[in-house]
Amino acid sequence: MPHEGGARPVAPGASHFGDESSRQDAAHLGMWIFIATEVLLFAVLFTAYAFYRLTYPEVFQQGPAHMDVFLGTLNTFVLVSSSILVALAVDAVRGGKEFVSAALLALTVVMGIAFLSIKAAEYAKHVRDGALPGAWYAYEAFAAPGANLYFTLYWVMTGVHAVHVLVGVGVLVTLMLRTLSGELGARFHTPLELGGMYWHLVDVVWLFLWPLLYLA
């Protein structure tokens, strides 16, 4: 035995963390690192955007004119409001108001679905116009060289973002059910905080996509 003095037996199956606060620290740190990886994932797309914007400056300035700025802006409001709701949900669960928290999460989920629906309506319009990515691009109103790349990037960037929104909605639904079942509450709410962080990330990414694709 290496350390006889003051040795206490380690119960098998017990938490491998010394205490609850270091467990929460670890969970938060892990989530922050994960968010960093997500940022780098999108960084590739922003790099490609910057590169092709330098190559085709006119096209990337005219591109937003072919977008539905109203729907894009509406979506920004939807997402930012949902981010506020998630923050309120985290605050509510910390204060022991599990039901309020679950209700706020439900509202967030509704907003996430609203975002995706608006996005789908936009996509449907692009499909009608033929403003499709890559080889399928057939948008006659905007046929300058490089316009296809603008729309390819638009589809890839918003598409990858939409996948994240979809995942986020799934996460929030799970968190809502766990809150309602009493698993998450004032004493233990780390998963809800982490889910909230993820939803804020989704929001922040959109706050960069919106000006680049709709307003530039």
């Binding site: 380690v10 491998h16 270091s22 670890a26 990886t37």
Partner: protein, 545 residues
């Protein structure tokens, strides 16, 4: 397997015996078992990549067609490259030895996220199966780099391979997140940052690269997949795109990936060099900060893969200079290892033989790296066997030697058994000699103008190719011997005891093999991890064994 008997009665079942049956392994959250499972799959991948390496060397034995046609050759080197880089070298040391040792070395009971750790293993297996299935059913012939526009134009079905490598990348990211979090939050009381073992520092640096670089690779692979499915056009000049963008993004990951491969190896060497010189590291801080330095500078060197791509002169010069910076940090490390060896009480063992091999080969490979970082010289050597020899010196000579050193050094810790030391040293010499015989001729071939990725060559290159193939055969033979005696020792090796090397590393404070939760009692670490006593006046230090 019996736990050690040399320090009284066994204190409890080891991680190997704590639970029995295949199911208990497949569902385990124990970082040690996950490390062992990674090791088993990784060795399988190494075997596969090695078999194809030998097939390539056989084809190159004579000019013209020896055993396979040109398309088959392209497919074979793609299998070799994809398997060795994506499925073996990148996960090798972190996923196997890192998983096994990192919590032990920090006095923790497990990594921060044990379930995520198991998920990482299954993602790796899933990705590996997809990649291999894709590569064999599609006959992929792009090489491991998937360069556009060839990768988007080739008739081979590339999609499963792209998705498979993407999934393997996800596994790497999860391991990286787990390690960084563990180092930050799970250190036992008393282990301050400047008492963290050097191997853990190396894994920490590696994890940062993994976490920051791998998502970039993942997205690039998605874009190539889109290019194939939807003709996305981002990398296709016919649609206004630029294939060079692919190269920039690809090498932004894949150059740091070299440091993902070599940094953990440097960590292994930093541990073993202290253990077998019976000395403290020459400078703990220099080793730590050069690790961080390599991790940082590694991100700024990718452009040296594109010196001949029409890059601006200024860009090429900047990347040339930044690439050379890596050599400075590497030189600092080599200097500290040599400083540790100097006037140490050297214990010539199998891991130590690999340490010497590592230092020599890394030095040689590193210096040839400085040579190819010089833009004017690179014009001559670009895409020749000189580059092949250079990166094999780093990726095989350094990463693989360190892997073998780790395999031998921690063998008693992992299994509680020892292997025949004489066999080990003899085989190490054989492997190092075989390695030099394989790749030294390739420097000469490259300098004479033999291009890489070619199945055929003029008559005059044959002697050097024969030498290289002969060396590769020795190398392969050496690995077979290692597999035989280590496999034999798993069962019949003598019982090792807690600390057969007399090492001062924290991991040796636990039993060999360690119990399920690593330590029977919460460990207390009052001293730094490499606290070998000061040498006596006559320069002698006791061997603990």
């Amino acid at each position: 397997m019996a736990p050690s008997h040399d320090e009284g009665a066994p204190l409890g079942p080891s991680y190997l015996d704590a639970e029995r049956g295949l199911w208990s392994w497949l569902t385990t959250h124990d970082h040690k078992r996950i490390g062992v499972m990674f090791l088993a799959v990784l060795l399988l991948m190494f075997l596969l990549g090695g078999v194809f390496a030998l097939a390539l060397r056989v084809e190159l034995l004579t000019p013209g067609e020896t055993v396979m046609g040109r398309l088959a050759y392209n497919r074979a080197f793609t299998v070799h490259g994809v398997v060795m880089v994506w499925l073996f070298l990148i996960p090798s040391i972190p996923a196997s030895f890192g998983n096994f040792l990192l919590p032990l070395m920090l006095g923790a009971r497990d990594v921060a996220f044990p379930r995520l750790n198991l998920a990482s293993f299954y993602l790796y297996v899933l990705g590996a199966v997809m990649t291999l299935w894709g590569i064999f059913q599609g006959g992929v012939d792009t090489g491991w780099t998937f360069y556009t526009p060839y990768s988007t134009a080739t008739g081979r079905d590339l999609l499963p391979v792209l998705v498979g490598v993407f999934v393997v990348g996800f596994s790497t990211i999860l391991t990286g997140i787990n390690f960084i979090t563990t180092v930050h939050t799970m250190r036992a009381p008393g282990i301050t940052w400047m008492k963290v073992p050097l191997f853990v520092w190396a894994l920490y640096g590696t994890s940062i690269i993994q976490v920051l670089a791998t998502p970039v690779l993942g997205m690039v692979l998605v874009l190539v997949a889109l290019e194939r499915v939807a003709g996305a056009g981002l990398f296709d000049p016919a649609r206004g795109g630029d294939p060079l963008l692919y190269q920039h993004l690809f090498w932004f990951y894949s150059h740091p990936a070299v440091y993902i491969m070599v940094l953990p190896g440097m960590g292994v060497i930093s541990e073993t060099v202290c253990a077998f010189s019976r000395k403290r590291p020459f400078s703990y801080r220099v080793i730590v900060w050069s690790t961080v330095g390599i991790a940082f500078v590694g991100f700024l060197t990718w452009g040296h893969h594109m010196f001949v791509s029409g890059q601006s002169t200024f860009g090429a010069g900047a990347f040339s200079l930044l690439s050379m910076l890596v050599a400075i940090f590497t030189a600092m490390k080599i200097f500290t290892w040599l400083g540790t060896l100097y006037r140490g009480s050297l214990w010539v063992s199998t891991p130590f033989a690999y340490v010497l091999g590592f230092i020599f080969l890394l030095f040689f490979g590193g210096m040839s790296g400085v040579a190819v970082a010089v833009t004017s010289a690179d014009l001559h050597w670009h895409d020749t066997y000189f580059v092949v020899a250079h990166f094999h010196f780093i990726m095989v000579g350094a990463s693989l030697m360190a892997f073998l050193a780790a395999l031998h050094y921690w063998f008693p810790k992992m299994w509680g058994r020892r292997y025949p030391e004489g066999m080990g040293i003899g085989t190490a010499v054989l492997i190092i000699f075989g390695f030099i015989a394989t790749f030294l001729p390739q420097f000469l071939l490259g300098n004479q103008g033999m291009p890489r990725r070619y199945a055929d060559y003029p008559e005059s290159f044959q002697p050097l190719h024969v030498a290289s193939t002969a060396g590769a055969s020795l190398l392969g033979f050496g690995f077979v011997i290692v597999a035989i005696y280590l496999g034999w020792s798993l069962r019949y090796g003598s019982v090792a005891g807690r600390n057969p090397w007399g090492s001062e590393g924290y991991e040796w404070l636990s039993d060999s093999p360690p119990p399920e939760f690593n330590f029977h009692a919460p460990p207390i670490f009052p001293r730094p991890p490499h606290e070998y006593g000061p040498p006596r006046a006559d320069g002698e230090v006791d061997h603990a064994a």
